[in-house]
Amino acid sequence: MNHWIFELRLLARDRGARLVLIGWIALLSYAGYGGWNAVQVLRVDQARFVEAAAHERSAERERMAAVEAGSAPADAYVGFPSILRSPVLLPVPALAALDLGLLDRANLTLRVSLFNGPQQSAKGRELQSPLLLSTGRFDLGFVAIVLLPLALLALLFAQPGDDRGDGRLPLLAAQTPLSALYLRRHVVRMLALLLSLAAISAATALAAGGVAALTGWLLWIAPMLGWAMLWSGACALLGSRTSSSATALAWLVTLWVALLWLLPAALDTLASRLAPSPTALSLLGAERAAAQEGQRRRDELFDVYVSDHPELSVETAQDALAWTRRYYVQQRFIAEAMAPPRAAAESRQAAHRQLRGQLLWLSPAQALTAASERTAGVDLASVSRFMTAADAHKQAWDDALFRPLLAGRTLGTAELDRLPRFVAPPTVAAASTALMLFVQLSMLALLLWLAARWRVLAARN
């Protein structure tokens, strides 16, 4: 009988293995559904946001058209620059269905205006479920990184411990090289898990993003293959070097705890100690002080601004909307005052991320998490890119509107139509990271396989 078919039959006859595979497929299916559902919910929210923003804009345009046509009386508020808001949106990436990453805590929909930048318009959006945020998503990323090693462990820990315990090992060693035998066994069992992961993750990516998402999916699944190979190598090494399958299991679980829990915690603690990142509170005091000073010196700041910008036509009359011109100048003052502390905080944050990024390569689980989130476009870098683009859009919006605001005039429909619109930055392909991780994990797995003592095992028995 063909060796591979024999291994397949062996797997099919193993009651424990059947149970593990059924549980594995059930968990994968739930995670796939959960990821797809979360993406759908986010998309529905975004569609509502887009619809509300479009409604707001078209209503304002209608009012402006009515004033232009003379069918409505002139109104200082209609088409006034500070009232106009621009929707800013990070489209939910299709691969977020595989790994939701930071999407459920990031602000994906913002409204930029003359008075509000991306950060300010995120106010009041901290309403996601704290129970879910603190526990984490049950998505395919979690299943592949945390549970795949355990499922592999359950299928492989008894190889070759059980054969030795049953006294079959000498017979097997006499018939075939043990390394080839157990390699086949490992490959068959690994494939049983990986094929189901590949099928369900591909179906999830297809459902969330269509055929176009499949390239990204390939990059997502590649490091997972390396991760599975690494654990197969660990099972082979510990299985061949321990006296019984129970001992091998205990060591493998300890290894899982070390790689998934202890090492990430230790590296993160080290990164926080060596390069502490600024806390959420650190900028608030400076921002409040700047806001207060801006408010206190509002008139003075406005006068200085007017005298510093002779090229601008600035309306200084105390009409009902005069406060908006002063308020705009005040906001500029706050932004300028906050630039140095914000830059300092960003530099500390960047130093922390750089150090953490370097340490990640020591911790396969964290490197995988980072690669999975990056491929899915839901990591901190993707969210930061979005916020940078939103800041640039705010600048463009200000450039287009601050002159009419300072001149105290309203906009017409033609000007409204020419206003800049936000374009989300394209997702950056993370092919090199994913492939490099795959190669590194595979090489490590190969080393572990080579360190397994198949020959010694065969000779002893």
Partner: protein, 468 residues
């Protein structure tokens, strides 16, 4: 007879200890878990202290900023507002609960009841798995018990020692009690430092924590022994117990939280604020002169002061309108935030219903309650901040009403008004002030009862095996 039973228990305990001392894996795991628990505790204490000191410094700075305002219109100042900073929870170092997912500070400004902002979780890189001292106890303690206890009964049946014991007249209950005592002793290596440290930080909360983690340890001691008694081999017992451990501590908590969120989802921030805007639009907002309710309020005020025109009022109607707008908005916020808290309550209820998969969701609720790091404690803080915001708005609008008549919107109050404004202060409630999660305790107790019943069934089986 009693002496011989006690002696048998002691002998069994000593035998178990000898077995463990010989097992290098167990000693390695014990050292690893204990060291990591101590490290997690120390890191937690450091983080909680930093949180507390930053919150205190920020509060001082914010108060100084508030007091240091020059002359200003009370309504502009109301928009500038104050910040309320949440102090560290009493036992946050042990169990940070959901504190990182909720904000540190509430901006208390005019017109808006803001949720707490500055969530630490927003700037955190993804954690693979939770790693607080409490999380370590929740998964590390059972893992230790499972590895130490899996072969205690099954292994001895395998080696034939049990049969020898029955022949010598040993009683299964004595053997079981001896092994259980040793497993409990092992659990106490982690539980005692926890209880002691928690008691030092906060006696009443510490006592509750010790109780719930004690119950949790008992559940795992009984589970370990029950599975070992029913297993044919120590390998089978270890595999089965590790499977249970994996299901109960790694898979179930996340599965349950996700399922609860799918069954009882929270309204999205977009929908939440849309509902508030709708509620506010239907009534007075303090800024809109066209509002019908504003006209009604003006009419009532004119009647109250016995005058015909707004100009004849001895006070500023703008101040009255502002306050009326605040009060209307308050009713809208009460409804919407009330629904939000109710939705969180529903999620908690679903988590408990799904706790048939694992005792951990129930333990989690109890542990966070005792540590003061659950969302109910956060709600206590947020409600206190909102009460303060309303008081502050009433104070500022009152001043505007009394003194804003003459200068209209150009009215400027001085620093003495800011100094006289109510000052924010907050004391974390003691454990007894917060509703006790009795349903979670009932679930945990039910788990203990069920596992205890399984163990008794195992003991009866062993007694049948032991009878000649």
């Amino acid at each position: 007879m009693r002496t011989s039973f006690a002696l048998q228990v002691a002998q069994e305990a000593a035998h178990t200890l000898r077995l463990w001392c010989r097992d290098g894996r167990l000693l390695a795991l014990l050292v690893l878990v204990c060291a990591w628990f101590a490290a997690a505790g120390l890191i937690g204490v450091d983080a909680a202290r930093s949180w507390q000191s930053e919150a205190e410094q920020a509060a001082e700075l914010d108060h100084a900023t508030w007091i240091g305002q020059g002359a200003g219109n009370p309504h502009s100042v109301a928009h500038f507002g104050q910040y309320a900073f949440k102090p560290a929870a009493p036992l946050q170092w042990l169990d940070p609960g959901v504190t990182d997912a909720l904000g540190i500070g509430v901006w208390m400004e005019a017109h808006y009841q803001n949720p707490a902002t500055l969530r630490p979780i927003e700037s955190q890189d993804g954690e693979v798995l939770p790693r607080s001292a409490a999380a370590l106890l929740q998964w590390g303690l059972p893992l230790l018990l499972v590895v130490a206890g899996a072969s205690l009964w099954a292994g001895e049946r395998e080696s034939g020692r049990l049969r020898l014991q029955w022949v010598q007249g040993a009683r299964p209950a004595g053997l079981l009690l001896g092994k259980a005592m040793m497993l409990l002793g092992l659990a106490a290596l982690l539980w005692l430092p926890l209880a002691l440290a928690a008691w030092i930080f906060d006696a009443s909360r510490g006592a509750w924590l010790a109780l719930v983690y004690g119950l949790y340890a008992c559940i795992w001691v009984l589970t370990t022994l029950a599975v070992s008694m029913f297993s044919q081999s120590s390998r089978g017992a270890l595999a089965g117990l590790l499977g249970l451990w994996l299901l109960a501590t790694v898979i179930a908590p996340r599965l349950v939280a996700n399922a609860a969120d799918q069954i009882a989802p929270l309204a999205s921030p977009e929908a939440f604020w849309a509902s508030i805007r709708t509620g506010q639009a239907s009534g007075i907002d303090g800024h809109s002169s066209a509002d019908v309710r504003r006209a009604e309020l003006l009419q009532r005020t004119l009647t109250e002061y016995g005058v015909k025109r707004e100009e004849d009022l001895p006070i500023s109607f703008a101040g009255i309108a502002m306050q009326a707008g605040e009060e209307h908005a308050n009713t809208v916020y009460d409804v919407n935030y009330g629904q939000l808290w109710q939705q969180l309550e529903n999620q908690d209820r679903w988590r408990l219903r799904l706790a048939v998969l694992s005792p951990l969701p129930a333990l989690d609720q109890l542990s966070q309650w005792a540590a003061g790091s659950d969302w109910r404690h956060h709600r206590h803080f947020a409600d206190a901040a909102e009460l303060h915001r309303r008081e502050l708005q009433r104070f500022l609008n009152g001043d505007l009403t009394r003194h804003g008549k003459e200068h209209g919107s150009a009215y400027q109050a001085g620093p003495e008004l800011w100094a006289a404004a109510p000052r924010w202060s907050y004391q974390t409630p003691v454990a007894n002030e917060m509703a006790f999660p009795s349903a979670a305790l009932a679930v945990l107790t039910a788990w203990l009862a069920v596992v205890g019943a399984v163990l008794i069934a195992g003991l009866r089986r062993a007694q049948r095996e032991a009878s000649p």
